[in-house]
């Protein structure tokens, strides 16, 4: 959901040319209404109740037998284990397409493959892509819907935030001195060492990194210019490293300092001893991903079961295991169902978190499109 691979852009070009020839929409609700008794088509079910309860939903999903997910990297928020656990628990085959794709790739794939059985059943999207495509989502309320705070869900359940985290600086403490503020990164010890996860005009994580730098330097989500200036300064000092950081570049020592979501930085610590994660107190930027069901899902029941699984205690704890903050985290902490050890191990964050709104993101994105390439080019 973060970045694109090389071929995808060209595929996207081809797809643009071919959308005119896309297969006509057909009614693919498999609608095996023989069971369940309620007679509701799986494709329009808005809760497990519509199937006649969880057991009926599980049965309907198992009848479909497959689930198509897209752009879920196995090393991102523990998705590898989440997919495996789901597949094993319900005996449903999970087809994971384009694990390194970007959010927009998910939407593109849904449009290009519409009507085929290879179309994605569920999405996990960045904020702007999600909010721009709500008409493609099927509203569905999981059993734990009420426990999710109002600001993290669409009232009808068209989308629900799934997990999130804070912008952070991850660094190899064996390579560089301790980081206590973003200004530290401008020092001579960090020459050619500071990488940002992607280009802020295309990738959500990198965009939030610039917002973080803006807030830390007197700007705000409404005014990201100071963030751009910060990266320009970083670049002029020769400290900015234009390499796309991945677990491989971190493990091989190519990218000793990475600006990225804290759950991604935290997961790196497993393989790099001495890898520390720092969330600047004066600039706490939060971001949540958006979970939704494709309205044209080829496996509508499996898609709904996937949602139930993700928002169950088990699914939420699996995300937590990947260092991400599950959306039901606080409710589960109160109820005592959260994995307390993992919950306490999350990087400490103090200060009021900033979550850029969609309007703020659009304004800032337009500004960055105009100026980013010149600042770091």
């Amino acid at each position: 959901m973060r970045r694109k691979s090389v071929v995808q852009a060209s595929v996207a070009v081809a797809a643009l040319l071919l959308t005119a020839c896309a297969a006509p929409e057909d009614d693919n609700g498999s609608g095996d209404s023989g069971d369940g008794g309620s007679g509701t088509d799986a494709a329009t079910a808005t809760s497990a109740e519509d199937f006649g309860g969880m057991d009926a939903l599980i049965e309907a999903a198992q009848e479909e037998g497959e689930l198509n997910v897209i752009a879920l990297p196995p090393d991102w928020a523990n998705y590898g284990e989440i997919i495996e656990t789901f597949a094993e628990k319900y005996d449903i085959q999970v087809n994971s397409a384009q694990p390194d794709g970007a959010s927009q790739d998910e939407i593109n794939a849904a449009q290009q493959l519409e009507g085929t059985d290879r179309a994605p059943d569920v999405f996990d999207l960045g904020q702007s892509v999600a909010l721009a495509n709500t008409d493609m989502f099927a509203p569905y309320k999981v059993e734990t819907f009420e426990e999710i705070p109002e600001e993290f869900k669409d009232p009808d359940g068209a989308w629900v935030n799934d997990y999130g985290g804070y912008m952070s600086v991850g660094y190899d403490s064996a390579e560089v001195p301790e980081v206590t503020s973003l200004d530290d990164l401008l020092g001579a010890d960090f020459k050619g060492k500071v990488a940002l996860n992607g280009d802020p005009t295309t990738a959500g994580a990198a965009f939030s990194g610039v917002v973080m730098a803006a807030v830390a330097n007197g700007g705000s989500a409404d005014d990201v210019a100071p963030g751009l200036e910060y990266f320009q300064e970083l670049n002029d000092a020769g400290n900015f490293l234009p390499v796309d950081p991945t677990p491989a570049t971190v493990e091989s020592g190519q990218t000793p300092v990475v600006i990225d979501w804290d759950y991604l930085n935290a997961s790196l610590a497993e393989n790099v001893s001495g890898w520390e994660v720092f969330v600047p107190e004066e600039a706490v930027i939060a971001g949540y991903y958006f979970q939704a069901i494709n309205a044209d899902a080829p496996h509508p029941a499996a898609a709904r079961l996937w949602q139930e699984f993700l928002y169950s205690d088990e699914g939420q704890n699996l995300w937590l295991k990947g260092g991400a903050r599950p959306v039901r985290g606080e409710a589960m902490a109160e109820a005592g169902t959260i994995d307390q050890e993992l919950y306490d191990a999350l990087p400490e964050v103090s200060g009021e978190p900033v979550i850029p709104t969609n309007e703020q993101t659009e304004t800032a994105a337009a500004y960055l499109s105009e100026n980013w390439a010149k600042a770091v080019g």
């Binding site: 959901m1 973060r2 970045r3 694109k4 090389v6 995808q8 852009a9 060209s10 996207a12 070009v13 643009l16 040319l17 970007a102 959010s103 927009q104 790739d105 999207l125 960045g126 702007s128 892509v129 721009a132 020459k191 050619g192 940002l196 992607g198 280009d199 802020p200 005009t201 295309t202 990738a203 959500g204 965009f207 020769g238 400290n239 900015f240 490293l241 234009p242 390499v243 796309d244 570049t249 091989s252 020592g253 190519q254 993101t361 659009e362 994105a365 337009a366 960055l368 499109s369 105009e370 100026n371 980013w372 390439a373 010149k374 770091v376 080019g377």
Partner: protein, 276 residues
């Protein structure tokens, strides 16, 4: 009807060249399906112009470097006996390397000159020199170096026939009426070769201007050149709905390449007069 045999080719052209070109042109003048000049205006904005000038700089630099070094290599090849190992090796290597590009080429350079590349490590341990710096390989300077790798062999392939077309009789004629070798080169050979040389340079320019996969694999930050700006317009998860802008950028590239190819055709026509 021998022209019937052309039909498959024409069909192929229609599907893979004519239809896409028309789609791009139509798309460039639309926003959400309606006629609009907004995208064309965006092309003249600072971001698109910055990318275009970088693309031109990259193409011009690699075309000139490729042309000069490639021509020198051609000269050495022409003066070697036709059966020599050197000549055969250069020709076959050029044939292969001129087509070497994309992810493999980018990876080859990352493995050699990247942070923990073979050459980087060697220079670091023996001479204590850091060639990696702040990652210049992943920006415009890196692209120039990497593109040159396929530009030089391409120059050898396209320029060699022109150099071989220089008849030895011309040289003998010049020398027999008292010209010095220097005069022969300046007044006979170079004027004869100039159109072919410039034509080949233009071809190299167009070749690197349109190259995508190598840049896409190497550069992830800043989208410095036009092809990467097209990628960003199509896949960005931050700025949405810019597929129309991608069409406009593609149109801009078509125009540039068309101008270059017309110039190339004109020069080729001049060259062929001499090579008959």
């Amino acid at each position: 009807m021998p022209s019937l045999g052309l039909l498959p080719f024409l069909g192929y052209l229609t599907v893979f060249l004519i239809v896409p070109t028309i789609t791009v042109i139509v798309g460039a003048f639309q926003v959400d399906g309606r006629f609009s000049l907004v995208n064309i205006k965006t092309l003249f904005g600072s971001t698109a112009m910055h990318a275009l000038s970088n693309s031109m700089l990259l193409s011009a630099a690699t075309a000139v470097i490729g042309a000069v070094l490639g021509a020198l290599l051609c000269y050495l090849v022409v003066n070697a006996p036709p059966t020599s190992l050197f000549r055969r090796a250069v020709l076959s290597i050029s044939g292969v390397l001129a087509q070497f590009g994309g992810v493999t080429l980018a990876f080859a350079f990352i493995a050699t000159l990247g942070f923990s590349g073979v050459l980087t490590e060697l220079l670091r341990s023996t001479l204590n020199v850091d060639v990696f710096g702040s990652g210049w390989l992943f920006g415009l300077p890196g692209l120039i170096l990497v593109y040159t790798y396929f530009q030089i062999p391409l120059m050898v392939i396209v320029f060699l026939p022109a150099l071989e077309g220089l008849k030895p009789q011309w040289r003998e004629a010049a020398l027999s009426i008292g010209a010095t070798p220097r005069q022969y080169w300046l007044q006979v050979a170079i004027p004869l070769l100039r159109p072919a040389f410039l034509g080949a340079t233009l071809l190299l320019f167009a070749n690197s201007f349109a190259a995508y996969a190598t840049a896409a694999a190497l550069v992830s930050q800043g989208q410095p050149i036009t092809v990467l700006l097209i990628r960003a317009a199509l896949t960005s998860e931050i700025v949405l709905g810019r597929a129309d802008l991608a069409f406009a950028l593609a149109l801009e590239m078509i125009v540039v390449v068309a101008v270059v190819m017309v110039a190339y055709a004109l020069l080729l026509r001049r060259t062929s007069r001499w090579l008959r």
